[in-house]
Symmetry: C2
Subunit: 408 residues, 2 copies
């Protein structure tokens, strides 16, 4: 039975709410979607009949009939999620609840050339964990990529050893389902929106400090598109035109040249006076640790980085007026050092009314953040596609088995 045409938008809104909130009563679905009760009843009847939504319990409300607690059936659809981070390739198979059911990881040497066969192998490995009867329910893949993609799908990503590699064409050729691609900064935004602290927030920013400094910005609930050459470049804001630090982009005094993890390590080794280049695997967390235990050089370097980050963020705060800034990446492990200085810099450099308004926090999504974001992307884009939506809502061929995943 195809989904009735009239109800597609209702189905979308209801499934989107279940993806975020997991279990809801009918009344909560009405409230969260803003749809009228009749539309919700109509759509839920359809989803319960197809087995896409299932009853998971009851709440005794004291008076009248007990209220049914509903959730989506995770087995109704699966998505492949791929995170092409530089030093580790992560693959996941997620279900309609957004849970990661199977995972696979490859080590990957930074800047060595990624072959598409390795990508295909990763997808096959996570599909291998799924009961074959459910393979037809794998609807789409979501991929989080580093670097800059051009409108024609060519990707330039130093980490992956790709220079204008025709990624979109190649990945669409090798994978047997629709593929949705997203720049890594935006994947983090997607993950925080769906599963993290930005749920229900309209104006907020995600700032990641790693090999570079990246930002994803959501304005009025819509991400500012940072794909291709479309902005969101916090890392190359000039925070000190007179700084001695030359960025890898060629400019002087970029935020990234002062506050990225490798540049924190670089400054630490320069300032200790040893003059030696840091060992390739010297971790930035070691600089943080030394700053904590009273190493003055380490402290000066970390404070400079935090203040530079605060100055750059003050511009973004003035321009976007976010209510929330979520820090991710290596900055998470230095939150005790960085957050107070960040707050101080915002108070000093952003307009008072706007600075006061911003909550600053760190991401709690951990290493899976991009994998969760890629899965959410695949889910959201599949909902928007009438054919894929119909697949999500099609009756399950075998009686569904309710698996309880560890992540539940």
């Amino acid at each position: 039975m195809p989904a009735p045409k009239i109800a597609q938008q209702w189905l979308r809104e209801i499934l989107a709410v279940f993806y975020q909130r997991r279990t809801l009563t009918r009344g909560e679905v009405v409230e969260a979607t803003g749809l009228n009760a009749a539309s919700v009843s109509h759509a839920l009847r359809f989803l319960l009949t197809s087995g896409t939504v299932i009853k998971t319990g009851e709440i005794d409300s004291g008076a009248g009939r007990p209220r049914e607690v509903l959730r989506v059936n995770g087995e109704a659809a699966y998505f492949a999620a791929i995170d092409l981070e530089g030093t580790r390739l992560r693959f996941g198979l997620t279900n309609l609840l957004g849970d990661i059911c199977c995972r696979w990881e490859h080590d990957f040497r930074y800047a060595s050339r990624l072959e598409m066969s390795r990508l295909l192998h990763g997808v096959e490995m996570v599909l291998g964990g799924l009961d074959p009867s459910l393979h037809s329910r794998v609807l789409a893949a979501g991929i989080s990529y580093p670097g800059l993609m051009e409108p024609d799908g060519h990707l330039t990503a130093v980490n992956l050893g790709w220079n204008r590699f025709p990624f979109r064409d190649e990945v669409e050729r090798i994978l047997p389902f629709p593929v949705f691609l997203q720049a890594d900064g935006h994947t983090c935004v997607e993950a925080e929106s769906s599963h993290g602290q930005a749920q229900g927030r309209e104006n907020w920013m995600f700032v990641i400090v790693e090999n570079g400094v990246g930002v994803g910005i959501s304005v009025d609930g819509r991400p500012i598109d940072a794909c291709g050459l479309k902005g969101g470049e916090l890392g190359h804001c000039t925070v000190d035109p007179a700084a001695p630090d030359i960025c890898k982009c060629g400019k002087r005094g970029c935020l990234e040249a002062i506050a990225s993890s490798p540049n924190i390590v670089r400054q630490y080794f320069e300032n200790t006076g040893a003059g030696a280049a840091p060992p390739a695997d010297f971790p930035v967390t070691e600089v943080f640790e030394r700053a904590r235990s009273g190493d003055k050089t380490a402290r000066v370097v970390v404070e400079r980085a935090a203040r530079a980050l605060g100055l750059a963020l003050s511009h973004a705060v003035n321009l976007f007026a976010p209510e929330l800034i979520i820090l991710g990446g290596d900055a998470i492990s230095a939150q005790d050092l960085i957050l107070p200085l960040l707050r101080e810099a915002l108070d000093r450099h952003a307009l008072a009314g706007l600075a006061r308004n911003v909550e600053i926090t760190v991401s709690k999504l951990g290493l899976d953040i991009r994998l969760k974001g890629a899965a959410s992307l695949a889910f959201r884009r599949s909902l928007a596609d009438p054919m894929l939506l119909q697949k999500i809502c099609s009756p399950l061929a075998v009686p569904y088995r309710v698996l309880e995943y560890a992540q539940r």
Copy 2:
């Protein structure tokens, strides 16, 4: 005859295209709206019958029937447009073509308290220029306001002598038609979108240098909302944390403290060594003129302002990746001095790929920019309102007279 319900969106899109392009053939309407030819024919038949759209000529295409050239009938609707700039209050009556048919201006002493009776008087003066038979066709007012408005409609605007004045309530009380309000930066964005160089552009910024430094930002064709406390604060980006310049907001080294017109004049008088405060009416254009004629002090001050503007804009360019920056206000009269330095600063401080992509120009809408923006706001918001849309499309009571306005 009420507009048939089904066609409201078609009517909106068609009227919006006529507002921007003025005259179109049927084929051009189809192309510009993206509607199908049958919908366009249906809607145009309705608009021609009501007299909202009129035939204004024919194009002999050589083969087949000559193509009709159509335009909207300016008399089908009128709007009051109000610009509450600090030193001059401007009132206009605009027609459905966006032409200013009548205008009225008051001098206004900066920071003296604006009385609502003066605002009402201005509206009455421009309505007085309209044939009484057409008064029922005045549908709405658009108002461009300075300062910061809170969500409840209270406005704080130093220029108007208002501190949390209940502006929205008051103006809705005294005017006999719906009122739409917009912060002045956004009104400029609206004007450049409808009538200026940003027509058809998606990602661009309007930067105004006057008593302050303001910005309006359009991302993917949507303005970032700077109403109330919602961002767009370029003027208070810290461009030099170590600068001696203290901003009126209390912070150090704000762009506005270095590059606004009064601060350019202030620095000029400080740097000449005379130590005297500038005369209250000393115009910034005089500093520009002296910089041109070889006055070194003037040149240093103007160059510092231009570089500060360039540095602040480089952050916005990195974050938004605009394709176009339009400069307005006093900066227009110094474009020969400012534009080359702005370009140089963008090249130095913004990411190369993004800096290259930006065209920099000055506004060509002149002193009427906010008046045109306020009119466009009233038009656009009226289109969105089913009742007002119906009024626009209602048959003209008297046979319409086609007036040819000077601005045509």
